[in-house]
């Protein structure tokens, strides 16, 4: 009974100062799935919600400039094909990773951006965790703010989702821990001074206070693997993409909070 009351109090408090999503206030908890936002102290929630002070907005601004910049020998820009990002990118990030019909494989937002650069712009790809790629994913992500995560699964993606699920539950590393051990089993408990969240990916790329910079979901997964002394999967590898797809499914219904602020 007290747990239900505590939950109600949490929802009510977070409902009081909610930024509005596409339709009404944002719900940070859906069917027991909780955004990392609900594990933040109120001052960090306020920092994320602040339309000026959220440090991630610096990368969004950079992305906005990159959107209109010409790059590559054929003189194209994102804006040249997609037009205004407000319209073209609305809801896009909420659906990633998505199925690439041509190859039958999942593709992440970073991979899609680099594919556009390679195929349409004949421009060199932006490297993983580069300032440009973080800026562009943050910028595109912003146009899904408040919208529920809805990755495509089923069809050719079924086996990828299953692989991601296996990887999520597999013990690994010197510490012999799986993602599930902490992020399903020990949620709400403390890891030294930090609170263990569900490890949801709805806010990525995030401004992480630990890194004092933006980080992609790839970097987050690699960090977690380093933390249990396991060999991280290279970003863009099949395992990494399968995991990212599973995480997106695991975060289904949660609001996109890009650029989120996390510890």
């Amino acid at each position: 009974m007290s747990k239900a009351l505590a939950l109600l109090a949490l929802l009510t408090t977070s409902a009081l100062a909610l930024p509005a999503g596409a339709e009404g206030p944002i719900l940070y908890e859906v069917d027991g799935r909780r955004s990392g936002y609900t594990f933040l102290p109120s001052d960090l929630q306020a920092l994320q919600d602040d339309p000026f002070e959220n440090p991630g907005l610096l990368w969004v601004e950079q992305g906005r400039l990159l959107w209109s910049e010409f790059d590559g020998p054929v003189g194209r820009s994102c804006a040249g094909c997609h037009g205004l990002a407000d319209e073209a990118m609305s809801g896009v990030r909420a659906r990633y990773p998505r199925l690439d019909a041509a190859t039958g494989r999942p593709v992440t937002l970073e991979q899609q951006i680099n594919r556009c650069r390679r195929v349409q712009m004949k421009a060199p790809p932006w490297s993983w965790e580069s300032a440009e790629l973080l800026a562009m994913t943050a910028f595109i992500g912003k146009f899904s703010y408040g919208l529920p995560i809805e990755p495509t699964i089923g069809g050719p993606l079924t086996s990828w989702l299953e692989r991601g699920r296996e990887l999520y539950h597999a013990r690994r590393g010197q510490l012999d821990l799986s993602c599930a051990d902490c992020h399903d089993g020990l949620v709400g408990r403390h890891l030294r001074g930090d609170l263990i969240s569900q490890g949801q990916s709805n806010g990525h790329p995030v401004y992480r206070l630990l890194w004092q910079t933006m980080g992609s979901i790839s970097r987050m997964i690699q960090w977690c693997m380093d933390a249990v002394r396991a060999e991280p999967y290279p970003p863009g590898s099949e395992e990494a993409v399968a995991l990212e797809l599973y995480l997106a499914w695991r975060a289904r219904g949660l609001p996109v909070e890009t650029p989120a602020v996390r510890r």
Partner: protein, 106 residues
């Protein structure tokens, strides 16, 4: 040029005190961190901030390694006349980052 975000009102009544906020993207590397190979990452910070309104000095600050990355600056400004607010940050290597904002009288 690193990204700068500056927020201040477009108009103010004479004598009104307004809040100005600025965020500048910068790693503010303290010089104490090491990279993945164990090599020290060299110090690189913004060590000075200067704010002027037209020809008047509003505030000046010396910054050190305790200031976090992408530093946030906020201050109150009494607006007596219309003019341009300028903020300049100086990097350790001498580069200057500037931003400006015009405030008119309401």
């Amino acid at each position: 040029m690193p990204t700068v975000r500056l927020q201040a009102p477009e108009k103010a009544r004479p004598g009104e005190i307004v809040e100005v906020k600025a965020l500048v993207q910068h790693p503010m590397e303290s010089g104490f961190r090491r990279d993945a190979r164990g090599q020290p990452i060299p110090r690189k910070i913004l060590n000075k901030v200067t704010v002027t309104f037209e020809d008047e000095l509003v505030l000046e600050g010396d910054w050190f390694i305790g200031v976090a990355a992408s530093p946030f600056l906020a201050f109150d400004l009494r607006v007596e006349r219309a003019g341009t607010l300028r903020i300049t940050w100086r990097d350790d290597d001498g580069t200057l980052i500037t931003a400006q904002h015009r405030i008119e009288l309401a």
